[in-house]
């Protein structure tokens, strides 16, 4: 995948799991500064992206670890990251599931929702990273039209003054962030998904994608708080609820479906990026060329875990439990692999190539 494709992919992927359940939940934990807290976390994520891009240029985490510590250590670390990413996606999939079960369809049949979602994401993830990037590139252009339409026809009464003054209650409420850390660290798959060799010098564009994704997420968070103000903690599905406020909504019916389709597409791209990263990681570990068995096994695990996790309360209980692994894998692993990669400085960089 070249950097331009990765740019569009990141723009889609970054807000995908942060704009539905998270705004309401974070408002309950942090209050009206929830948007600031998210901005802060995404800035930390941007720093992590910088680390990951350096590691990526050295051939990816598997190669760096293998050259420094040998095959066994590399395999163990990669396997742990794969397990973590799998658990994380299963947890994050509760976000669209919650919306579809509670707001979109009148039924409680999780299987009927997860199956098409995982099959589609699995298929996209099975294709090469280049195909995935191309899809994101083409889709973003098409998604721009409904996104702009939704913005220009947005009619909700907003009071951005509600967001001020910032830090009225100090920084103490920011401790609530620890409970939602699992919803961040979306750049982790880039440790495995390799970028085009020719795009090595274009990392700033990816940082720009990170800034763009952060801006989109912040805009949704800030608008959500400005619209729902004190009622924000009680609104479970932020983005779909906001999308209902449309000028044409009362005249021609529910135009919010267009915005929701864009969001669901972003969700599928997010999951498929992780499927692709997992398949790359396993091929790095065992030097196997065939991705199909890995994708099928990953899809089956996603499917069963997503169905088994259960309701909203379990989601937040689990994300609370995952704090330690999150700290290790989201922040520890990229930083440590960056440090490790500096030891390879004297050696000639591994040639990276598009998968």
């Amino acid at each position: 995948m070249n950097v331009r494709q990765c740019f569009f992919l990141l723009l889609l992927v970054l807000p995908a799991f942060k704009i539905t359940m998270l705004p309401g939940y974070l408002s309950a934990e942090i209050g009206k500064d929830a948007w600031l807290a998210v901005g802060l976390m995404m800035l930390v994520d941007l720093a992590i992206l910088a680390c990951i891009l350096v590691v990526n240029r050295k051939g990816g985490i598997a190669k760096v670890l293998e050259r420094l510590f040998g095959k066994t250590v590399s395999t163990i670390v990669c396997a742990l990251i794969v397990i973590f990413m799998t658990a994380k996606v299963a947890l994050q999939l509760q976000d669209p599931l919650h919306y579809m079960i509670n707001m979109l369809f009148d039924h409680n049949n999780k299987v009927a929702i997860v199956l098409p979602l995982v099959l589609t994401a699995g298929y996209v993830g099975y294709k090469s990273a280049r195909s995935m990037g191309r899809l994101a590139e083409v889709a973003t252009v098409f998604l721009l039209v409904p996104t702009l339409l939704s913005f220009t026809l947005f009619t909700a009464p907003t009071n951005y003054g509600y967001l001020l003054p910032v830090l009225e209650d100090g920084v103490t409420p920011f401790a609530g962030l620890s409970k939602v850390l699992v919803w961040f660290g979306d750049y982790l798959p880039l440790l495995f998904v390799r970028l085009d060799e020719r795009s090595e010098q274009k990392s700033p564009l990816l940082m720009l994608a990170g800034v763009g994704g952060t801006a989109i997420t912040l805009a949704v968070f800030a608008t959500f708080s400005a619209v729902y103000q004190g009622a924000s903690p009680y609104i479970p599905d932020a983005f779909p609820k906001l999308a209902r406020f449309n000028l044409l909504g009362s005249e021609v019916g529910r135009l919010d479906m267009i915005a929701i389709l864009c969001w669901l597409f972003a969700v599928i791209m997010h999951v498929s990026l992780i499927v692709n990263a997992i398949s790359r990681a396993t091929s790095d570990m065992w030097k196997k060329k065939g991705k199909a068995p890995v994708v099928i096994v990953t899809g089956v695990i996603f499917f069963f875990l997503s169905v088994l996790i259960g309701g909203e309360e379990n989601v937040y209980a689990l994300s609370d439990w995952l704090v330690a692994p999150v700290l290790v894998f989201h922040f520890g692993v990229p930083v440590l692999s960056l440090i490790c990669s500096t030891f390879l400085k004297g050696k000639k960089d591994e040639k990276t190539c598009a998968p």
Binding site: F105, V111, P116, L119, G230, A231, P236, R244, R254
Partner: protein, 374 residues
């Protein structure tokens, strides 16, 4: 089997699985089993909640294609809570209640005060009710209001939605959506304004209107109920206008000024409002400044700011607005209602819900309304 053929086979199987999986969603609730609810009326008698759901009923296959053949039905249910009442509607009618297209929620007289919070919170949080659905209180039973046919729309729910939008544009009614209700409810004093709907005396029988089953009546929305944790206050027509002048954005409307034999229409052009709490003196004073700009019209023509409107007439109008704004504020404060959102401007220590009520009762108000002609 050759590789491309195997790939096609796998893709076909995947597509079939996806389609079958999606198909399992719909058979449990086919469209014909859904009651597309366009408005609901909630009444409370004792501990029992009565729900009336207005649904669109399409004509039989041959007739439904003809324009004007759609009609409506009202399904009824009851229960100790709103969710049980909704379930009762579904179980007794055989239709699954779908609130995704609900435009209006009418609350009966028995739902005033604390009784309206729980059902509305339930509607906003747990159902698919659109957040821009309008909420109104009815004078008397909500179900009776729902059964009336109103204006150019034969469905009271659609009529209410249009009427509330138009009236709030003209500053005649307060507009309250499900979102507004929730936002107001979660402020320190829980103050929110909901229009009060009553049936007017006029009988409306427009020619060429949609199919009607009876005489159409006029709904009047020019009064409002302000309610919160401290109690409730009913605003009359003029007080509602004063409330709107401070709190709401309206972009249409006019005032007729009579000065002797001269009649001038002042058409609303612009307004700016500033509400501050002055803590400098012994007593805390709320200072409200309202600048309203009007376009003067005489005999249907714009006459500009050099018009013949006397200063005396303008002063009278300013004084009237000032006294109405003060009257609304003081009456509301006595009931612990933060009608102009001054609680946000108090000290942090005073923002707890019990302290703020006491502070509100001790507040004084000075209002300055400046009417400008352009």
């Amino acid at each position: 089997m050759k590789k491309p053929a195997l790939r096609s086979l796998i893709t076909t199987v995947l597509v079939i699985v996806v389609v079958l999986a999606l198909n399992t969603i719909s058979p449990s609730l086919p469209l014909v089993s859904r009651a597309i609810v366009v408005g609901i009326a909630i009444d409370k008698e004792g501990d029992v909640m009565h729900l009336s759901a207005q649904i669109i009923q399409s004509g039989s296959s041959g007739e439904s294609s003809k324009p004007g053949n759609s009609t409506y039905a009202i399904l009824k249910g009851e229960g100790e809570s709103l969710s049980t009442a909704i379930y009762d509607v579904s179980s007794t009618s055989g239709y699954y209640v779908s609130l995704a297209h609900c435009s209006a929620v009418i609350l009966g007289e028995g739902m005033r005060g604390e009784d309206c919070f729980m059902p509305l919170n339930y509607l906003v949080k747990n159902t698919k009710l659109a957040d821009d659905a309008v909420i109104v209180f009815s004078e008397g039973k909500a179900s009776e209001l729902m059964e009336k046919e109103v204006g150019l729309s034969f469905l009271s729910a659609f009529g209410l939605k249009k009427l509330e939008g138009a009236n709030s544009d003209y500053s005649r009614a307060v507009a309250c959506t499900a979102r507004d209700f929730m936002v107001g409810d979660k402020t320190v004093t829980g103050t929110k304004a909901v229009p009060l709907c009553r049936v007017g005396e006029k009988i409306v029988e427009p020619e060429g209107a949609e199919q009607s089953t009876g005489k159409k009546v006029e709904f009047k929305l020019d009064e409002a109920v302000i309610l919160g944790k401290g109690g409730e206050l009913v605003l009359n027509e003029e007080q509602t206008l004063a409330y709107n002048l401070v709190k709401k954005n309206f972009n249409l409307g006019n005032v007729t000024l009579r000065d002797g034999n001269d009649v001038t229409d002042l058409v609303y052009s612009n307004k700016s409002v500033d509400v501050q709490v002055d803590n400098s003196g012994d007593k805390r004073v709320v200072k409200v400044n309202v600048d309203v700009t009007f376009l003067p019209f005489s005999e249907g023509r714009p006459v500009g700011k050099e018009s013949e409107v006397s200063k005396n007439a303008i002063d009278k109008l300013e004084n009237k607005y000032e006294s109405l704004i003060n009257e609304v504020f003081l009456s509301a404060c006595q009931k612990g209602l933060d009608v102009y959102s001054v609680a946000d401007k108090l000290d942090e220590a005073e923002k707890s819900s019990d302290k703020v009520m006491e502070v509100l009762k001790s507040l004084e108000i000075t209002t300055e309304v400046n009417v400008k002609l352009t």
